[in-house]
Assembly symmetry: C2
Homo-oligomer: 228 residues x 2
DNA sequence: TGCAGAATTGAGCCGCGTCTAAAAATAACC
DNA sequence: GGTTATTTTTAGACGCGGCTCAATTCTGCA
């Protein structure tokens, strides 16, 4: 209660925060252009919004270097992620929307979800921890489990692991993954990496399939190495 | 395809249109102040928006006299009403939200409902015709059944009828109605009208109860007179 | 190390949707 | 039937969230 505390966030602000959150989740440093591209907005618009969010103590913005969420910002962003992912799960489980469509729908709905409905959905779904694409659902206080994720693309030959997450924004990618039965939970083993960079060959039980680079960069594997 | 045809409507415009639609449903003529009050917005804002909507051929605006939906406007407004009411029904039936809360939730969500989800909800609910408060759900082409509704408040003593609709915007009213088992479908008979204007006494089977004026003006009865 | 090209930011503009204050039209009342 | 009260509209301003274009800073490469 220093000065202004519980500002109402606009949908646009929520979009920015959740976008930054998503990048930070993957351990990336977040630049203006990443946000700009991901949101389909001019870079200058991002800068302007970063200034506004910084003045509200939601992000920290080092000009020309990048941006990161503050504690407050992370709280708010986690809430948005929770909304988004609960909705995605609800739509697939209860409404029967195919998994390559739920992202867009959830994106529209997430800003309109009240605290109350959020709780009802969580209830109905049994307090889920993971959404249909394997993204972790933060709990109400914003905390999330920690996972040791690595891009499928960057795994060494012979590595075993479990599909943990598939980027949800591109329906075509999700269909591509589904065709190869690469769902969260599927066990895989990297059989071979094409030396010329085209694709990785992956074994799923007896079957094996090739996964193209673009896809393999958007599929995240949980391995059980103790490295970090 | 005269000039500009399928303008994307902003949420604000959708709100205005649905508000006008709601008044027209009840046969009222629609004034600036009614919209202003109902939307919680300054009268001047309404006028300005009416001009914009008029220029898009969604409403007809006769300065100082009132406003009405054009064919286009009615189409768009009916779609919003359909969204709103499908969501209300879905929330009560599937999500288990109590009927005095669904209006507010639906109001937030209706702007974010895609065509696709609209269809899915309608499907799940079995193409319903009526929402939890008795409001008619327009079908996809915008058509609605016609009903012969009269305010409970204006019924003559001795009139029999069926509760058809209860205004949904005031949770307290809905709880008030629920306490008296005045749900859509309940059969009633007007036993007595308090001559000093306080309330109507209504019989529900063996029971009877008093309904205050403010409530009785927001409860609509379907009677079977042929007086059209 | 210096410089070209890429990324970021600044300045200024625009449309939307709101507001307030003042003017205009309509309605009500004696 | 004229004056007053009410409703509606006009005028002008503002903040948000975009944009473009130009200036600035950073980076990578010769």
């Amino acid at each position: 209660m220093t000065n202004e505390d519980k500002k109402e966030l606009s949908p646009a602000m929520e979009d920015y925060l959740r976008t930054i959150y998503k990048f930070e989740e993957k351990g990336a440093m977040v630049t203006t252009s990443m946000i700009s591209e991901s949101l389909g907005v001019a870079p200058a618009s991002v800068t302007k919004m970063m200034k506004r969010l910084a003045s509200m103590d939601l992000v920290e913005h080092e000009p020309y270097r990048g941006v990161g969420l503050t504690a407050n910002g992370e709280k708010a962003a986690a809430e948005m992620a929770r909304h988004h992912r609960l909705i995605e799960l609800f739509l697939t489980e209860v409404v029967g929307v195919p998994w390559d469509r739920v992202h867009d729908e959830a994106h529209r709905l997430e800003h309109a979800l009240s605290e109350y409905l959020e709780d009802r959905l969580a209830d109905i779904l049994g307090d889920p921890k993971v959404d249909p694409h394997g993204q972790l659902i933060p709990c109400k206080d914003g905390r999330v489990a920690v996972r040791n994720l690595r891009m499928l693309w960057e795994l060494e030959q012979g590595t075993r692991g479990v599909v943990a997450e598939i980027e949800d924004h591109d329906p075509a990618l999700l269909r591509y993954a589904a065709e190869r039965t690469l769902f969260p939970g599927t066990e895989i083993c990297v059989v071979e990496r094409d030396p010329y960079g085209g694709s990785v060959i992956v074994a799923l039980g007896a079957e094996r399939c090739a996964v193209g680079q673009d896809a393999a960069r958007q599929i995240w594997i949980e391995t059980n190495d103790t490295t970090s």
